[in-house]
Assembly symmetry: C2
Homo-oligomer: 381 residues x 2
């Protein structure tokens, strides 16, 4: 384990005062109330029309919309907390199958953590980690995009633990970014998040404890995932995981089930990002910084008090609207975005243990053509 | 391809008059209105209490209930059609993303069938096949278990095609049948069916066509799957698929999207079942026949006109209630229930092409200990 840098502890990259983030300022929510983004919002949330352009055919559009189906219609984890599959309390259909008031004694939280991770993976999680719920990452206020309601937010006090899950996005589809086909990779992961977290939450309820499934609706998923040991924060503003790089989406379950926690991990991401800049170069919206990490926010969409490469969410969102889709170029080109394979394991080990080779590895990554955009039409051939 | 037997055609095992099946007579629905099964129903649908018995611990119970969470609370494919994730029409959240009235021209139904299968697998289907919607398999009446409403049923006339999907159940969990842990294998497949079929249906809607996702709510899934080439009907009353044997759950999407259809397959199941009888021997409810195939129904729970080994659903259900869970012994012990592996491929080839070896293969299966019940506690170790 390398030096955790300034502000050691559960959240090693904290260098200043953290003010809890207001959900209203998250870029998608902001587009709902900030007149500056009215045009973009209308385009982004409106209907899309097939185009004569690779990755924007009717099949691509149909797959993109289908992949989001569950999240948009039944999950709501990108919208508001405690709704649909992300409901804090289970429907009667599940309640009536369980004995009332039977609480499983937890003699060994390490054993229980193992079971929770096993079950999360059984339900479809690619990675699972556990941390204490650091309240600084919980939203200060919630913002309901349907009603415009904006109010103070808190998670129940007893939910001391946070189980972070990462869901892998499809490598092949992501490689076609910034197309609608790539958006189908994103959508499927977002649609599977309520499936995995709601079923994991129900498992915990079956042991007699409180459990709250959550997407992007209650807290900042990335710092929670960092605390839970799922990865490091990269230049592209994404969580970089050891196995899938930034090609994941995140959710969590908050609970009072006694668990043993994981800690943050370091495996050379910060050092690599310092010299790499591929994501910044390939960002069509120029939303990713070229320079050094900073605590300076670009605008109200950034959280504060953390040393990082803040993303310019305004520029990012503007490109998404202009593109009439989304964009994952920063995920596609990231050298940590690889599939399973011993050769990638070797490179990961070198990045972790011999950072002096980072420049060489980066050159090799370029030479071998990793991260290049793939033809979307090839998927349907 | 072997001789398809009597009644060749899409449904090769038809030998008599098919009267469409009334959903009210499906055993789970029947337990709701038939006073003969009132006791069983109360036990089966009521709360379960952990027991000092392998496979019936609180963890096992919690996993079983969690695995069913999505189907019970949001899917309803084991209950009633056109509800929740199995809704026939999409929510506005999906409608407003698509251009109105853009219908993709289908010049090549073979190409379109490939795409539909690709997308079904992307969303999580283990196997996919396509057939014409044979109306004889569609329920004559629907029965709403919540309201008791019983009325004539028909699928929209334009839904000429049926896309059958099979979802694999977890091998390791199924091996612990008849425990609650095995029930978690069943539950996860049932919870994933609405996910896969609703997203596949939405893909088709995105191409401008009608699409209806369905579980056990609209039609008999097994004959539809047989017509779509997913497998053969076994002695245990299950669809036996070439790759996973009977260890699958079935759903379908009905549509008017022009597609090329598959046909029924034969790979030696009937011949093997004729000599095997392992499922009948290991059925704790004595619900599986030892003898020859027949067209004789045991009771109103059986459909008619088909030459098969009808299951005695009354006895099956009674054991489920007595077991305070379910049972998959007939799936667990079936010699076709195997995981991937070249050795199993060889045996499958032999069963298909050299049926004279069936007895020898059956002896080998017994000797090697396949199908033996596994300790549930081992899962949590």
């Amino acid at each position: 384990m390398k030096d955790l840098g300034p502000g050691k502890g559960t959240s090693f990259y904290i260098v200043g005062e953290i003010s809890r983030f207001d959900q209203k300022n998250e870029m998608f929510k902001r587009s709902m109330w900030d007149p500056q983004f009215e045009q973009e919002r209308k385009i982004y949330y409106g209907p899309s029309y097939p185009k004569e352009k690779d990755g924007f055919s009717q099949e691509d559009l149909a797959l993109f919309v289908a992949s989001w189906y569950l999240e948009w219609g039944f999950g709501f984890g990108t919208a508001i907390h405690n709704k649909g599959l992300f409901s804090w309390d289970p429907p009667q259909s599940a309640v009536r199958r369980l004995p009332p008031d039977i609480k499983r004694k937890v003699a060994d939280p390490y054993w229980m953590s193992r079971q929770v991770k096993r079950v999360a993976k059984y339900f479809g999680a690619s990675e699972v980690g556990i941390s204490m719920t650091d309240r600084r990452w919980v939203y200060s206020h919630s913002y309901n995009i349907e009603t415009g309601e904006h109010r103070e937010f808190e998670l129940p006090e007893e939910c001391k633990y946070s189980i972070s899950v990462a869901l892998e996005m499809d490598y092949r589809l992501a490689k076609t970014s910034p197309t609608w086909l790539a958006r189908a990779a994103e959508g499927k992961a977002y649609s599977m998040l309520p499936v995995v977290t709601s079923m994991l939450a129900q498992f915990i309820r079956g042991l007699g404890y409180r459990a709250i499934p959550s997407g992007n609706d209650s807290a900042l998923s990335i710092p929670l995932a960092i605390d839970a040991g799922l990865g490091e924060l990269g230049r592209n503003g994404c969580l970089i995981t050891p196995r899938h790089g930034p090609r994941v989406r995140l959710g969590q379950v908050f609970t009072d089930l006694p668990l043993a926690c994981d800690g943050p991990i370091r495996f050379g991401v910060i050092e690599f990002c310092e010299i790499c800049r591929k994501c910044a170069k390939h960002c069509p919206g120029h939303a990713i910084m070229q320079g050094e990490r900073t605590t300076q926010a670009h605008n109200i969409c950034n959280s504060t008090g953390v040393l990082k490469w803040p993303i310019n969410a305004e520029k990012c969102f503007s490109f998404w609207a202009q593109n009439r889709g989304s964009c994952m170029n920063c995920i596609r080109v990231c050298p940590f975005n690889k599939v399973a394979g011993w050769q990638h394991e070797v490179v990961r080990w070198l990045i972790h243990h011999v950072p002096t080779l980072d420049r060489l590895i980066l050159m090799g990554d370029e030479l071998l053509g990793y991260g290049k955009k793939a033809r979307a039409a090839g998927y349907w051939d």
